[in-house]
Symmetry: C2
Subunit: 371 residues, 2 copies
Amino acid sequence: MYASDGTDRASVVGRKPLTDFVIEALTSVGAGEADAALTADVLVAADLAGVDSHGVARLRRYVEGLRNGTINGRARPRVEREHGGVSVVDAQNGLGQPALCFAVDLAVERAREHGVAAVAVRRSNHIGIAGWYTERAARSGTFAMVTTNATPQVAPTGAAEPMFGTDPVSYAVPTAGEPLCYDAATSIVPRGKLERLDREGKPMLPGWAVGPDGATSTDIPRVVAGLKAREGYALLPVGGLGEEYGGHKGSGIGLLAELLCGPLTGASWSKHTYGPEGADLGQFVLCLDLAALGDAGRITRDVDAMAAEIRAARRADEDVPVRLPGERRHRCAEERSARGIPLLPPVVRDLGKIAELTGIKPLGARDGQDA
Amino acid sequence: MYASDGTDRASVVGRKPLTDFVIEALTSVGAGEADAALTADVLVAADLAGVDSHGVARLRRYVEGLRNGTINGRARPRVEREHGGVSVVDAQNGLGQPALCFAVDLAVERAREHGVAAVAVRRSNHIGIAGWYTERAARSGTFAMVTTNATPQVAPTGAAEPMFGTDPVSYAVPTAGEPLCYDAATSIVPRGKLERLDREGKPMLPGWAVGPDGATSTDIPRVVAGLKAREGYALLPVGGLGEEYGGHKGSGIGLLAELLCGPLTGASWSKHTYGPEGADLGQFVLCLDLAALGDAGRITRDVDAMAAEIRAARRADEDVPVRLPGERRHRCAEERSARGIPLLPPVVRDLGKIAELTGIKPLGARDGQDA
């Protein structure tokens, strides 16, 4: 995930018309109204937060999947197993957003009863930004973690082929204000960031990706093409190549996501996702009811006090504040809520294609934006 | 944590006499027999596994703490709160090993009942290697995670002072053989590794640590002294300085450990540990009963199949196998079980001091070793 660095050459769109466009696009290809609205909310939340790689830029793939039947628009997530605080949900190859939202709401409810709950989702699809779900749970007074697997793009330490997904890990905890929410891929950079740098003619750093020979590559057009074509190119986990900067530790966190979302959930692990039967992605949700751990008010005050002390730390660079996870996203969302969401030309073209494909009113023909 | 790189100039000690020495040392300063035996097992397991920084090299601090009353040798971990699968344990400022072992066994038991269990431990002390506990839980058929906070040594991204502990995160899952067990500090390197490189006259890499000015420093004697004296020097999280290699992501995983072990547990967060009332460390345990998630045999087979595929990945370096977490530690433990445990001269001196202080038989005067 990455934040777009500006509105140069971008069309600026209002939240409402963009959301309406997404809902109409999804319902036009068979998604139910409620599922479409929820999916639109998650996608547009990413665009608002500056995580452009996970916003409406993904819509075309969803629309195509629903049209050609690789995603089931009429799926209803089904609890297929339940024991105490543990539930396993079969997403029935539906859109990932309604499936994971169902799982998170279930986890919050079960955590109220059991203090802690784990919900595993199998036969699922792409979920958008993981932080949307953990923030939702945190607003209900729980600590929440969410992780998902994904198409294989990351080489575990020592390997020279993509096996793990960029598998984001997100957690959120209530505070006096917005939840404190961490949400990041377990690779150093996602493919979307390389694609953007490539478009902008900017360089990439050594240690972000390797070629089929296992050596780090900075040939950005070749890396981008090689990742896309699955030609053995791979991103590297947080910490980079080898062990000198803790790459094996980043790789171990990626493996944690793979274990939780694959074998433990009963979904495919990333290497085997997107097979002939559908994506079969897995997601894993953990919720802890703060009230089970102690006085929820005391816990929230302690979180706030700790956050304040971290923000007030001596700065490495006097001009750069010490930020907590999610602060940049929250600030971006405030700005974009007020001024509109900038969409880059390829995304605008994609949305135009979707209007053509589905026959819905093009975004550019709606009020409240200039796309 | 780090693996010692050989037995040069080291004394080689048998497992049994070393374990006996630790037990006698601890009981001589007021620890109960069972607590001493458990603590000895955890410490010697680290030395066997090659994690020398967390083995008997720590014993002197435990003995001194028990002698001067900053650790309570007669503490009994007490469940002070319980709701469904969540328990909060007051370790009563006793040794960390018996407290965390109590918590892990409780978590395994509660996970059987509730499918998932979380146990938070407050008023605790140093626990040795986190992997000892997750492996123990995994041998009972659960997936387990453990994390702990620690004395502040790591600067969060953007900060130029130590705030987080090196906070290890460990997880383990059953396989057909030994559990697959990840166990690593959330900093790139622990202080112990820098101390060893300093002793050996070897260099450190830029990006491992910063000075009080927030800039990376490779002046290893100064960094080691500055960390020890708390002069504003700090280690960096996995991913290193800034955000280019994902340092902010490593920092976010450190923050996760701090949240779970501090505010959520009701213990101090790392910045405020080791106050006048004792260390007040926090630990957090999560256990998932595989049988709650599905057929435990199927899950274990899936974990084994995934592990086999990762091991068989195309190698980045033909001569270096792709390893899964814990494999190196298991191999080292086999070797050292057979050939003895090498102890470096400063550790041997420390153990000699302990014998002097407590009046127990020196290690060198026992059978089965040459120290």
